[in-house]
Symmetry: C2
Subunit: 151 residues, 2 copies
Amino acid sequence: MTPVKPRWLNAEQQRIWRSFLNGVARINERLDAELRSFGLDLGEYEILVHLSEADRHMLRMSDLAERVRQSRSRLTHTISRMESKGLVSRVACPSDRRGVNAIMTEMGYQLLVKAAPSHVDSVRRALVDRVDPADFEALGRAMEAVVRDPD
Amino acid sequence: MTPVKPRWLNAEQQRIWRSFLNGVARINERLDAELRSFGLDLGEYEILVHLSEADRHMLRMSDLAERVRQSRSRLTHTISRMESKGLVSRVACPSDRRGVNAIMTEMGYQLLVKAAPSHVDSVRRALVDRVDPADFEALGRAMEAVVRDPD
DNA sequence: GACAGGTTGTTGAACCGTAAACTAAACTGA
DNA sequence: TCAGTTTAGTTTACGGTTCAACAACCTGTC
């Protein structure tokens, strides 16, 4: 007979869970507010980061979608907007005629270069510098466990 | 002379930061997927939770907005939708004629009672049970530091 | 007691994300 | 070879969020 009763969170676990929800919201608020002054949101910023790290600043749409955890549909929309802002452009993929490569423009690269120091500083002020280093490492292990394998 | 050079994240810090972004996204995905089967999203669920904990299952709109970290405008829209689903209703506030109280209906309460065990189970499977207990506590301290005081 | 300034909550438009349907191309195997 | 399936990316419609403007009310001060 399998247990039917739900295993509630105890008071401590519940407190931590709510802190997590609050903390995540707070961090996102701060990062978004700061990036807005560059006309970017976190999603667009991450796209620029991943393109900047890629060979020839270019990635297949589906590959990029996975890296930034956006649905393909969402990425299509986001890239279209960024394209009309001149930050990226689209190139047909030579090896697979279904494929499309997103490629960062010089203007996109320059914007990233300009925004990055301020963004990193936000990440520090919102999280990294606020937290005890040992706790920060533990947070890393925790999140790696969350992302790891099944389901 | 103040330092101008940005203090970049070192490799370890960057790895942890990216794990954090990935982990948070993963957790939200899982929770939303599960709540969808009750016709709720995380925002609506949290509204029900906070109302259920309040005296007479009732809270001022602005108070509720703060607790669930939604803008007032967003809460107005969300509550309107939930009202038309029969989960909450609105009552004028006697002491302040600008005020509006959101109050949970019996139907809203019953939905919460039905959804809660499954939701708690998701929280466990997505985070609590996946993480070493000591790391989980560290995560709590980290998030409390994020939420605490200035800015 | 009136007015300046802040607060509460709503509105409507613009914007962004989601979901499903769809086109085109590439595999797969019989 | 070719029917069936899978994959890539886009399109469309819809729903939710944000933003700015607004009306109604409260609060303190002169």
